[in-house]
Each structure stands twice: as structure tokens, then as C-alpha cells.
């Protein structure tokens, strides 16, 4: 992969980020009651601070100047102050972000581990019993809303069987292996909920991508080489089928984040998703803005990663 390609992708990501920031800013600017002004008129704030804030946000400037000011402030990490948590928004978000990323990452991993073999097996035996069962289960999987699966799992594994805790705690009173075990135990359900939801769509993506590749001429060529069906499937079918799957997975990321918010809320995981909900309920505007922006950045980041993966998987791209 050429460095040029990487740089170009990075440059393309910048307008997306700017676009997203414009959308966010527009939503804010159009909102009635001026969310920025709300801070200033908040009686809990001393007048001199309010005046300073007013000057900082430039509330009386034209819209585009305000946008530039706001963007500059965001870029410099000046994301405002959370009156509910009594700390800076960027610090608050940074505190919560790792938990969210770990949960999403683990779920994504689970999804891939389950969906890749199932999708490939289903596609290599199209219309077999296995294919039909897998396909039906995949449909059920992504038709089950995460909030309902979450409640079902809690009902079965926490309430009826009492195997797993249903409230996520980050203050576990243990060390070493014991701590790790508790962490794993409380992560099982959220990761399963999110992972299976993701995996269900992934199965369909993988299956259809593999079906598209299986009938291509070069697969017949590979078969004529006498290298065995296993190598044909892994080296020639799956390897190329992964290329479109990467893009589809990236396109799914916004939905995954939605699922993560719900999952964090159900299991009370202290990530940025539950932070978003609690801030909305507590009218903590700077935090709501910050978290939304972080989610947007994460989506752009994952798209970027997908682009790089795509180029790595498909030599035709990198040479262009």
C-alpha cells in the first residue's frame, strides 16, 4: 500500500469531519432557547463567569464566526464544563471512553468469530439445511432489538438462573485473577447482546459476498489446480469476499454505536453511551454535545480504518 493512498484517505476524512461538525453546529444553532445561552443565563453561574462565557462563545457574532470559534474551541480540547459531574467534559469523556471501546471491540470480535465461519459455510452449501437455518437465525438476530435481547438475557441468566450479574460495576473489590473473572462475568451479557446483533448482519454480508465470489472464474481456476477444497475456499474465496465485507462492516458502525448506547443503558455500563443518556436526562448540554461529537469522530475513524483495510486486502486499489 502506498503512503500516498494513506495520506489521500486521511485528507478525505477531513471534509467528513468538518461536515459532521457543521451538522452538529446547525442542530445546536437552530435549537430553540440557545443551548449556549442556557449556560450563560444559568443562575448557578456567577455573573463574571457568565460574561466571560458570553465573550468566549461570541453569542452576538454572526453564525459562521460562531461556528469557527466553536470549532476552534473543540479542536483545542476546550469542550466545556459539566455542571452535573463538576469536571471538564473532555476529561469526563476520556474517563468513560475506554469502557465503551472495550465493549464494542469485544462484541465486534465475537461477531466476526461467529459470523465468518457460519457465513462461509452457509454460502458454500447454498440452500442446504445449514444455510437455511443460519439464514433464518440471522434474520431473527437482527430483527431482535438489542434492548429486548438484553432484557431476555437478564431475565434468564440473572433472575432465573442467577449466574451473571446484571449491573456492571467498575469498582470491583478484588485483585488479580478474581478481578479479571468478575470483569469477564459482568461483560458476558453486554458483549453477547451487541456481538450477536452485529454478527447476525455480518452472517448475511459474508454469505452474499462469498456467494458472489464462489461463481467467479478464478475460483474454478483455483479448483483446477488440485490444491484441495479447503485451500480453495480459504485462499481464493474468503480472502476476496472479505473485501466488500470490510466496507459493509464500516457502514454498520453507526448502528453498532446505537446498539452500544442501548446496551450500556440496560447493563448500566459506565461508558460514553450511558453518559449521553444521563446527560440528556440531566440537561447537561456540553456533555451531550461532546459525546455526540465523539461518536461522530469514531464513525469517521472506523471508516478510515476500513478504507485502509480495503486497500490492504485489494492490491488493485493501492496501485491506483
Amino acid at each position: 500500500m502506498s503512503r500516498q493512498y494513506l495520506i489521500r484517505r486521511l485528507l478525505i476524512a477531513i471534509p467528513s469531519l468538518l461536515g459532521i461538525s457543521v451538522v452538529l453546529f446547525c442542530v445546536l444553532a437552530l435549537a430553540p432557547g440557545d443551548p449556549f445561552g442556557e449556560l450563560v443565563t444559568n443562575p448557578a453561574i456567577p455573573p463574571e463567569v457568565a460574561a466571560a462565557l458570553r465573550a468566549k462563545f461570541g453569542l452576538d457574532d454572526p453564525v459562521w464566526t460562531r461556528y469557527v470559534h466553536w470549532l476552534m474551541a473543540m479542536l483545542q480540547g476546550d469542550w466545556g464544563f459539566s455542571f452535573v459531574s463538576r469536571m471538564n467534559v473532555d476529561k469526563l469523556i476520556l474517563q468513560r471512553l475506554p469502557t465503551t471501546l472495550v465493549v464494542i471491540g469485544a462484541a465486534q470480535l465475537l461477531a466476526i468469530v461467529v459470523a465468518l465461519p457460519v457465513g462461509v459455510l452457509a454460502a458454500t452449501r447454498p440452500y442446504s439445511v445449514f444455510d437455511q437455518v443460519a439464514n433464518t437465525l440471522a434474520f431473527i438476530g437482527f430483527s431482535l432489538p438489542t434492548f429486548f435481547t438484553g432484557l431476555l438475557l437478564i431475565l434468564v441468566f440473572s433472575i432465573k438462573l442467577d449466574w451473571l450479574p446484571f449491573v456492571f460495576r467498575d469498582d470491583i473489590n478484588a485483585t488479580g485473577l478474581q478481578w479479571l473473572w468478575e470483569q469477564v462475568k459482568q461483560s458476558i451479557m453486554p458483549v453477547t447482546v451487541l456481538g450477536l446483533f452485529q454478527g447476525a448482519s455480518l452472517v448475511r454480508f459474508v454469505r452474499s459476498a462469498v456467494l458472489d465470489v464462489v461463481r467467479l472464474d478464478y475460483v474454478t481456476t483455483a479448483r483446477s489446480k488440485g490444491i484441495g477444497e479447503g485451500k480453495v475456499v480459504v485462499k481464493h474465496v474468503v480472502r476476496t469476499a472479505l473485501i466488500p465485507v470490510v466496507t459493509l462492516v464500516a457502514l454498520q458502525m453507526p448502528i453498532v454505536f446505537g446498539g452500544a448506547i442501548v446496551t450500556e443503558q440496560i447493563f448500566r455500563i459506565p461508558g460514553i453511551g450511558s453518559l449521553l443518556i444521563s446527560s440528556i436526562l440531566a440537561n447537561d448540554t456540553p456533555v451531550v454535545m461532546g459525546v455526540t461529537f465523539v461518536f461522530a469522530c469514531l464513525v469517521v475513524l472506523f471508516n478510515l480504518i476500513a478504507d485502509v483495510l480495503y486497500a490492504w486486502l485489494d492490491p488493485r486499489i493501492a496501485f491506483r
Binding site: L24, V27, L28, A31, F147, V214, V288, T292, A296
Partner: protein, 317 residues
């Protein structure tokens, strides 16, 4: 597509020449042909039946099951299913069945309206982009890409957070939230339809019959409306069907997070939200609305899959 032969062989296999067996392949009209293909998708047909039953239930159910949705009866609170309350009662002793029948109307209506908004915006953007090409096309498609990479749920939550009070003041608590949810969900889901319509236009523009229409001096508008849109309809219907399911999930998610409809509007997600803290003592209360959402979404998704087989046989995904 059972029985489809691999592409590499199709060149060699004769594809049933029309002259060879005229008696065996009767001509179907496109509608009949689509119906014939849809019928082969057993799960889609079963889903259509289930969905129809659900729609009939929410449309006429409240006329038959005349228990009020907000009759509070503390003597019968959190009861499991009984004859008097087939789906049990909630923490205020309200009848869950009556609430679900009523709430279903709203959940379904949100899904349908949001889909209409998405389809309308999508067709419009797609048609404009496809017909104009050049800069306008590039900008619109960049916008579609941008919207595709917006984190939908956080944005949805943000918009509702910022606008709910204003809309509530204008349209009342239910109307306001309904309009907002429909517009926002619809406004965040137009991109696939726009892309489909644009792609169809780009490929159809070059086809002979559109060329012919152009040669005859048909205006751009007329070309789109008369010749191109009907051809793009199949994929748009499929995308629209799936949008209904997605919108139902979105609405339920919002309500489940406590940020959708107010407590006196028992949409399925809202009932689930109210029920989730009583999971240990009254699981039925959560199971019924959850199952309703699941069943509706699943059957709509299956119908979408069947429609895809019926209307758009080329696409695999």
C-alpha cells in the same frame, strides 16, 4: 433463487429458448410474475400473514377488546396473564393487552410515516442527483455519504433533547414527539433510497427506451416520472420495507431509553421501558411488548426479503 445455475455455466447451458417449449412457459404479467416469485419465499408469505394479523389486531382490536388503556386498578397490579387480563397488568393495574393494541397503532404509524419521509426525500435527492450529474450530483452524493456516517442514535437523541420542548409547545406532547420522531428517523434514512434511485437513473438513462423518449423530445421531468421511476420502483419498495422495520426499532429504542413518547402513550418501546424495572416480579409485562416489536420487525424484514426476490432478482444482498 433455488435452482439458479452458476454464471460460468450459463453461457454453455441453453437458457430455455422461447421457441422450444411455448406451451410450458405461459406468459405472466410483471405483477403476477412478482407474486409467483414472492410466493416461493415461504417465510415471507408466513410473515405477511403474521403482519396482517397484527395490523388487523391493532386496527380493530381496540374496538373488540374494550378495556380502557388507562384504567388504574391497584388491586390487580402486576398480575400475570389471566382471563380478565390475557397479557397481565402493569404496576398500576392497567391492562397490558389494551395498551399494546393501542400502542401498536402508534409504533406502526411511526414506522410507516418515517418510511414515507425517507422514501420521499430519497427519491427526490436521487432523481435530482441522477438527472443533473456534475457538481450537483457530486455534492448530493457527498451529502449522502456524510449522512451515512452520522451516528444516528446519538444524533437522534441530541435533536430530541434540543427540540422536544419547542415542538411540545406547538403540537402538544404526543403530536410534537410524533412529528419529530418521524422527521428525524426519516431524515436519517433517505440515503440508501437516494443511491438506489440515482444508480437506476444512471443505468436506465442509457437504455434504449429512455433514449427513445429523449429523442421524441420528452422533458427531463417527464423522463424521470414516466420512464425511470417506475423502473426504479422495485428496489425502492424493498428498501422502503426494510426502512419500516428500522424505524419501528428506532422509535422503540427512543421510547425504551425514556426519551420517546410520554408515559401515557403506550408505544411498545415505552411499555418495555416501564416494565424493565419489574423484570424480576412481572416478566410478562416486558415479554409481551418485546415480542410484539420482535414479531413485527422480523416479519417486515422477511417480507422485504421476499419482495427482493420478487421485484429485484438481480441483487443478492
Amino acid at each position: 433463487m433455488p435452482g439458479s445455475t452458476p454464471a460460468s455455466l450459463s453461457a454453455e447451458l441453453p437458457t430455455r429458448p422461447a421457441t422450444a417449449a411455448p406451451a410450458k412457459t405461459p406468459r405472466f404479467s410483471p405483477g403476477l410474475e412478482a407474486w409467483r416469485r414472492f410466493r416461493r419465499h415461504k417465510l415471507a408469505v408466513a410473515s405477511a400473514v403474521i403482519l396482517l394479523v397484527m395490523i388487523v389486531a391493532i386496527a380493530f382490536g381496540p374496538l373488540v377488546w374494550r378495556v380502557p388503556i388507562n384504567e388504574i386498578d391497584f388491586t390487580a397490579k402486576l398480575e400475570g396473564p389471566t382471563l380478565a387480563h390475557p397479557f397481565g397488568t402493569d404496576d398500576l393495574g392497567q391492562d397490558v393487552l389494551a395498551r399494546l393494541l393501542y400502542g401498536g397503532r402508534i409504533s406502526m404509524a411511526v414506522g410507516l410515516c418515517a418510511m414515507l419521509v425517507a422514501a420521499l426525500v430519497g427519491v427526490l435527492v436521487g432523481a435530482v442527483a441522477g438527472m443533473s450529474r456534475g457538481t450537483v450530483d457530486a455534492i448530493l452524493m457527498w451529502l449522502a455519504d456524510l449522512f451515512l456516517s452520522l451516528p444516528q442514535l446519538p444524533l437522534l437523541l441530541l435533536v430530541i433533547y434540543l427540540f422536544r420542548d419547542a415542538l411540545k409547545a406547538v403540537f402538544g406532547p404526543e403530536g410534537g414527539i410524533f412529528i419529530m420522531i418521524v422527521i428525524v428517523i426519516g431524515g436519517l434514512r433517505w440515503m440508501p433510497v437516494a443511491r438506489l434511485v440515482r444508480a437506476q437513473i444512471l443505468s436506465l438513462r442509457e437504455k434504449e427506451f429512455v433514449e427513445a423518449a429523449r429523442a421524441l423530445g420528452a422533458s427531463k421531468m417527464r423522463q424521470v416520472v414516466r420512464h425511470i421511476l417506475p423502473n426504479a420502483l422495485g428496489p425502492v419498495i424493498v428498501a422502503g420495507t426494510i426502512d419500516v422495520a428500522a424505524a419501528i426499532i428506532s422509535e422503540s429504542t427512543l421510547s425504551f431509553l425514556g426519551l420517546g413518547f410520554p408515559p401515557d402513550v403506550p408505544t411498545w418501546g415505552r411499555v418495555l421501558f416501564d416494565a424493565k424495572d419489574y423484570l424480576d416480579i412481572a416478566p410478562h409485562w416486558a415479554m409481551f411488548p418485546g415480542a410484539a416489536i420482535f414479531l413485527a420487525v422480523l416479519s417486515i424484514n422477511f417480507i422485504g426479503d421476499g419482495l427482493r426476490d420478487a421485484l429485484d432478482p438481480r441483487r443478492v444482498l
